[in-house]
């Protein structure tokens, strides 16, 4: 993902497809190198770590020309709007918080899941397709000085919830 992804006005459909294909291939690759029932967790954490590094780099680029953030909520809004638009071509549909360090980001049509069947059949495979994004968010936040744990949850297929738990230092 290079700088051009950021220019929403100039994006083509090709960009979008390429990211999805690459993402799918990465999952396939990691999955084959870490095969076996017990290795599933390792596969997810490997993808998560990949996302973490990418998130760190991306946020550095995206926040280059933005004003300094006021607080944690300001940061979360940036992730939901600008960051999500740059990576997934849409904003987060719903952001909720308990004002005590827990944020729930809901995406009703999460792009990396849209190519999967909407039924229950592939539900158990969903975590693999969300691990990278969890890492992405965690990496972005960590580079902005917010340490967190990010988990994802799917109940009906293209919709997805990311829970961000901020770790107070």
């Amino acid at each position: 993902m290079d700088n051009s992804v950021c220019n929403v006005g100039h994006t083509s459909m090709a960009d979008e497809a390429l990211f999805q294909f690459l993402h799918n291939e990465v999952i396939q690759y990691v999955n084959t190198t870490e095969s076996g029932e017990t290795e599933n967790g390792r596969c997810v954490s490997k993808l998560e770590n990949m996302g973490f590094r990418v998130g760190q780099g991306l946020i550095e680029r995206f926040t280059k020309d933005t004003a300094r953030f006021k607080d944690e909520l300001d940061v979360m809004k940036f992730i939901c709007k600008d960051f999500w638009t740059c990576v997934f071509k849409k904003q987060i549909d719903n952001l909720r918080t308990n004002h005590q360090g827990i944020y729930v980001l809901q995406d009703n049509k999460f792009r990396l899941l849209t190519q999967l069947s909407a039924g229950k059949q592939y539900l158990e495979n969903a975590p693999k397709y969300l691990a990278f994004t969890c890492g992405l968010v965690r990496g972005a936040l960590s580079n902005l000085g917010v340490k967190s744990i990010v988990t994802a949850e799917v109940s009906v297929m293209p919709a997805c919830k990311f829970q961000v738990m901020i770790q107070k230092m």
Binding site: A67, R68, K70
Partner: protein, 139 residues
């Protein structure tokens, strides 16, 4: 223009520091180190103060007898410090600002380099040459 350029990590340890070879290097290390307190002060004032102070460029941190120290903090809390010779009065605020901008974009490129580990000291040649250009302009 610049006599010393430094990049300081989130956790306040140097990622990169370079000064003109003709002068006492240690002195600049001290100058940059001292400036971090002023940076901290300015950054923590953000939020309470006016909205226009949310800019990444912090402006003049403090002048000493021989030098002027300027600061810039990215959103990821990485600090850039540029030390300029006081005798250079022709230097305008805008020029300093554009130096920081250049430094920031180059730093972003370093961060996005897959071979760079975030938190390591910067050893990029292109970053080096950007900094060199800033120092050459001075003489």
């Amino acid at each position: 223009m610049a006599v010393c350029v430094a990049v300081i990590a989130k956790e306040n340890y140097p990622l990169y520091i370079r000064s003109v070879p003709t002068q006492n290097e240690l002195k600049f290390h001290y100058t940059v180190h001292t400036s971090l307190d002023v940076v901290e002060e300015k950054v923590s004032a953000v939020g309470k103060a006016l909205p226009d102070q949310r800019e990444l460029y912090l402006g003049l941190l403090y002048p000493t007898e021989d030098y002027k120290v300027y600061g810039y903090v990215t959103n990821s809390k990485v600090k850039f410090v540029i030390v300029v010779d006081s005798s250079n009065t022709s230097l305008r605020d805008n020029e300093i600002r554009s130096m920081f901008r250049k430094l920031h974009s180059s730093f972003t490129d370093v961060m996005c380099n897959p071979f760079y580990n975030p938190g390591d000291t910067i050893q990029s040649k292109s970053f080096d040459s950007i900094v060199s250009a800033m120092m050459v302009q001075s003489s």
